[in-house]
Amino acid sequence: MKVLVPIKRVIDYNVKVRVKADNSNVDLANVKMAINPFCEIAVEEAVRLKEAGIATEVIAVSIGSKSCQEQLRTALALGADRAIQIETDESLDSINVAKLLQKIVEEEQPQLVILGKQSIDSDNNQTGQMLAALTGMAQGTFASAISIDGDKVNVTREVDSGLQTIALNLPAIVTTDLRLNEPRYASLPNIMKAKRKPLVVKPAADFGIDLTARTNLIKVTPPAERKAGIIVKSIDELVEKLKNEAKVIS
């Protein structure tokens, strides 16, 4: 079976973002970018399915400007077979990202689509679920384990109260949580090999979808600063402060 993995280029998770002085957005100039960590987990899972003889082909797809080819090459170095870039310079709303991905699903007919549960920049946590609705597929979000079982996939999900396992008819959509796997590091030979793997570019405009913005970003501001605290010398002092100054314990 074919597995499709949509990946997003985002700020590196170690970088603390700054807001632009004019409050128009965050400042991403000269900031280190990387593949969204949850997408990396998605690629790893797809590659493991291929190594287990379950998947036949792993296709990575990213929607973004030319620079996201860097992250597609990362996915290829991790073991994806080929890549598709849907080229746009706009920051698209999730519904429009999902509609473009729906077109790729129609073209490629994957049995499984694995996405990240959320991107660590916009923290939306919605694209996979939207794609599932648009394609009429079942979804297993926040996955910490998946197993293919004939024409179904069992997905164990991280939910607020613990773990839930559900069974989905294939084709299906899965979104990854942190505990699904630990992604490998790409080896140097695989990074070299990735440069020769196929990567096709398709302009977003060619899909005939109305990509009009559904949101208007009014402003971006820094969060409220917490006022500086103090270092206490002892447990006695800590307990005294919590009782008499902060008044949070009695």
Binding site: Q129, V220, T221, R226, L242
Partner: protein
């Protein structure tokens, strides 16, 4: 304007977060209806009818909704959506799961995880792990929104709304429930606790989390954890606090053996008072702590327990 709020529950208890989500709905303005979708959930409907500000409770009680499978619940909510301008749910795992499906079926985008309401179409939400706060206007004709409950104060529960049964049953038939492994604890839930004691990698193993038990008992606290502690298998996944775990804002948050990575801070830095116990004076957690104690946790925790 009319607003449909999805009631968060587990068929046995209406979650207190729902009261905060209703507060968010009130800030948008308009008539508010609560939807209870579940199975054998009449008690939830009764509780929902007491939530202030709600004029009607819709009850969809059917086996198809027992486990709130996204495929089934999203079809139900999408059908009901015809009568509403705003569809709202709490940004917990159930709402996060099915709401974007509703948005896509209605051909709108979702505004996720809002922490404040500016007007009926403009909302405030954290982005980049809370390191930036965006004000976003929705241009869609229907608004599909999830609410981060820590941003709102709960409404009271002395109301008396009418309860109406919803008869249509929407079963997509493409997914089914297999099993669950729930964490059982006598302690308050992380989202509802006024005090939280969290342990990180510094706890070294799951056994040592017992050192937090005595303190949590004395303070009536919930116990949380960092991702590192969960990944290492010390404690269960549902205890993870952070950008990609649970977002909490208790009166008192005590971080023990947690370094203070931005992803962890994203989940707890709106707590009223933060205490950090860490042996490394340079740990970033001290930058957000009101009270920091530089100490070995294996000495500090027994002493703290004895002095509370």
């Amino acid at each position: 304007m009319s607003i449909l709020v999805f009631a968060e529950h587990d068929n046995s208890e209406l979650k207190a977060d729902t009261l905060k989500t209703v507060a968010a709905a009130q800030a948008m303005g308009g008539e508010i209806h609560l939807l209870v979708a579940g199975h054998n959930c009449q008690a939830i409907a009764e509780a929902a009818s007491k939530v202030n500000g709600v004029s009607k409770v819709l009850v969809a009680d059917n086996a198809a909704y027992e486990h709130q499978l996204a495929e089934n619940v999203s079809l139900l909510v999408t059908e009901l959506a015809a009568d509403y301008t705003h569809i709202i749910a709490t940004a917990l795992t159930t709402g996060k799961n099915f709401m974007p499906r509703v948005a896509a079926l209605l051909d709108v985008t979702q505004i996720s995880d809002i922490i404040a309401v500016e007007s009926s179409d403009t909302f405030v939400r954290p982005i980049y792990a809370g390191n930036a706060i965006a004000t976003v206007q929705s241009l869609d004709n229907k608004k599909v929104i999830t609410v981060r409950s820590t941003g709102f104060d709960a409404v009271a529960t002395d109301g008396n709304a009418e309860i109406v049964a919803v008869d249509q049953v929407t079963d997509a038939g493409i997914s089914s429930y297999v099993s669950e492994k729930l964490s059982v604890s006598e302690r308050p839930e992380l989202g509802a606790a006024s005090v939280i004691v969290s342990g990180g990698r510094g706890m070294q193993n799951g056994e040592n989390f017992k050192l937090l038990d005595g303190i949590a008992d004395k303070l009536g606290a919930a116990i949380g954890a960092s991702r590192a502690a969960v990944d290492a298998g010390f404690v269960a996944n549902d205890m993870q606090v952070g950008q990609t775990g649970k977002i909490v804002a208790p009166d008192l948050y005590i971080a023990v053996g947690i370094s203070g990575a931005i992803q962890h801070l994203a989940g707890m830095k709106d707590s009223k008072v933060i205490v950090a116990i860490n042996k490394d004076a340079e740990a970033p957690i001290f930058q957000v702590a009101d009270y920091g104690l530089v100490a070995d946790l294996f000495d500090a925790l027994p002493e703290l327990e004895s002095k509370l």
